[in-house]
């Protein structure tokens, strides 16, 4: 359900960004989703296909989803560490909510036909 909304948001965002380009000319959409964004690639693919059935302008487009790990930056020790098992602590042991990667939901690239 949530994925359907996200796919519609992808289309709306692209159409706003590239108003002069027909959706029919899009061949691939690259999505970067942080581990915290609750996005499952397989469900996104299914939702994408379902939305495209209703909106065949995008039938040429593929969707590529890249999942990025959660990274936090510790202000105290000035180090970046990866959050594992959703435990928001720096390698130095201090808790931190300073997320620098992993909660994003971004379209990183759109490929168009010649």
């Amino acid at each position: 359900m949530h994925e359907i909304s996200l796919v519609r948001n992808i289309f709306r965002t692209i159409e706003e960004q590239f108003p002069e380009s027909a959706p029919e000319t899009i061949t691939c959409i690259y999505l970067r989703a942080g581990e915290l964004s609750n996005v499952q690639p397989i469900l996104m693919q299914n939702a994408f296909e379902a939305v495209v059935q209703d909106d065949p302008r995008y039938k040429r487009a593929k969707l590529e989803v890249e999942i990025t790990p959660i990274l936090v930056y510790c202000e105290t020790c000035k180090k970046t560490s990866e959050v594992k098992q959703y435990k928001f602590v720096c390698a130095c042991g201090l808790p931190t909510k300073n997320v620098i990667q992993g909660d994003e939901l971004l379209i990183t690239k759109v490929e168009f036909l010649n």
Partner: protein, 241 residues
């Protein structure tokens, strides 16, 4: 076809893979969320999230009763279907409007913006958004709120923060509800607090029972304090979910 005059200065060029864009997918939602914040500079907006059946509506009813005479409260309540929750709240005198999402599992900012035109917000100090019961999808959608409060009933189990990290990560307050049932269920407030603080070191935790009244004074004090802070500072900070 090469697109003409793209908005982005990194123009898409033919079929050559090009890093032409970095677009926030929820840009449209976040834009509307900001419009909501701009429209309600003096009003505290609290987005209440939980799974279905955790006691959000009962909490709203009891909160309304306790805060009557102290401040003016209104509730926008989202459900996939029916107007039952808004009726339950109006029954106890709360100014409530139902948002029927038509099967959708979360509320989006646009629904709130539209709802603002259909509820009387004159003199309202505190606007609750009672989200659709769901610990996953609502976490991604900023509704223009100042605070996000997650309600977790003792009957749901204390393992939820690690299972639904984004919701707890983006909340400022965790309310453990149905505390009157704690003696009968295997739920550790200490364990849930520890896990919630693993995913969100800043989260506050309170224990409440809407039926028995335990903890509701502390919850209402929290709300009164935040309402006053909002009025004083006119917070317009944009939160990123």
């Amino acid at each position: 076809m090469i697109p003409l005059k793209p908005k982005s200065n990194r123009a898409p060029v033919g079929n050559i893979p090009c890093d032409n864009t970095t677009l926030n997918l929820l840009k449209a939602n976040d834009f509307v969320a900001k419009a909501i914040r701009d429209r309600l500079p003096d009003m505290l907006v609290v987005n209440v999230c939980s799974s279905p059946g955790s006691g959000k509506t009962t909490l709203m009813q009891e909160t309304g009763k306790r805060l009557a005479g102290k401040l003016n409260m209104a509730v926008l309540v989202g459900d996939p279907e029916t107007e039952r929750d808004a009726i339950r709240m109006r029954d106890v005198g709360i100014n409530a409007l139902q948002i029927v999402t038509g099967g959708m599992c979360h509320i989006e900012a646009q629904m709130i913006l539209q709802a603002l035109d259909h509820i009387d917000l004159n003199h309202v100090d505190l606007l609750f958004i009672e989200n659709v019961g769901n610990l996953v999808c609502p976490a991604a959608f900023d509704l223009g709120e100042d605070y996000r409060v997650t309600v977790l009933a003792s009957t749901e189990g204390d393992d939820k923060p690690k299972k639904y990290p984004r919701m707890f990560h983006t909340s400022e307050l965790l309310l453990v509800s149905k505390s009157d049932l704690l003696p009968y269920v295997p739920f550790s407030v200490e364990a849930v607090t520890k896990d919630a603080r693993d995913v969100n070191p800043d989260i506050e935790v309170m224990t409440i029972s809407s039926i028995k009244g335990d903890g509701l004074d502390a919850w209402c004090d929290w709300l009164l304090e935040k309402v006053n802070q909002k009025k004083q500072s006119k917070l317009t900070t944009q939160k990123a979910y």
